[in-house]
């Protein structure tokens, strides 16, 4: 039942995000994050952290958003599941840029860019 509730929260969060209802999205993702922690599901916790980060960022809450993205990175290391890491580096750098800390932004963009695969080649 908690697992089910978690799935519902995540889905709602995404829908609110899509409809630009960011405050509601934050609420849902926060609930999902707590639930995921309590049931110990790190994969769902990561999804919730990612969604929460994205909603907070769009609300202009860059510091809080960054914390969520750092959480994503941490959980990726713990689970050995890499997805979302590249984007997390990019998003953290975006937040630093917004906050005017271009030095740190540049460092994180470098990490981000080094993880993008080169295109092209025959």
């Amino acid at each position: 039942p908690r697992k089910q509730q978690l799935t519902v929260n995540l889905r709602n969060g995404k829908t609110f995000m899509r409809n630009q209802d960011l405050d509601m999205a934050v609420k849902e993702f926060r609930a999902a994050l707590e639930l995921a922690k309590s049931v110990g599901d790190r994969f769902e916790e990561k999804k919730a952290a990612r969604g929460l980060g994205a909603s907070l960022q769009r609300l202009g809450k860059y510091r809080e958003a960054m914390n969520c993205y750092y959480k994503v990175l941490e959980l990726s290391k713990e689970t050995g599941e890499d997805s979302g890491c590249t984007e997390a580096y990019g998003a953290i750098a975006d937040c630093y840029t917004e906050l005017g800390d271009l030095e740190r932004a540049a460092k994180l963009y470098d990490k981000y860019i080094s993880r993008l695969q080169p295109g092209g080649g025959e």
Binding site: R18, T86, E87, G90, A93, D94, T97, E98, L102, E103, A105, A106, Y109, D110, Y112, I113, L116, Q117, P118, G119, G120
Partner: protein, 89 residues
């Protein structure tokens, strides 16, 4: 360092395109018709294309200007990208 805002803008420009095309695609197919795995693969398709296309330009915005030639080139790249993607507006 001057190129940092351009990196941010180019990223978000590309992501807007990606997200809106993805949305269109999912709507056409009808979300219910898709398994989780399909949906995920389609999402990865969209980020894969964007990330590979952005790799070159972003890398060329981050040549650390150790010698002035690369610094000049990096700035020229930035100006060209700003023009071509209308990132200044």
């Amino acid at each position: 360092l001057e190129t940092v805002p351009t990196i941010k803008k180019l990223r978000s420009y590309a992501d807007r395109i990606r997200a809106s095309e993805l949305e269109k695609c999912l709507q056409k197919i009808g979300e219910d018709a898709l398994t989780k795995k399909m949906r995920r693969s389609i999402e990865e398709l969209s980020t894969g294309i964007v990330n590979k296309l952005l790799h070159g330009p972003l890398q060329h915005l981050r040549c650390d200007g150790s010698d002035s030639r690369t610094l000049d080139e990096t700035l020229e790249n930035m100006h060209a990208l700003n023009r071509m993607f209308s990132l200044d507006t």
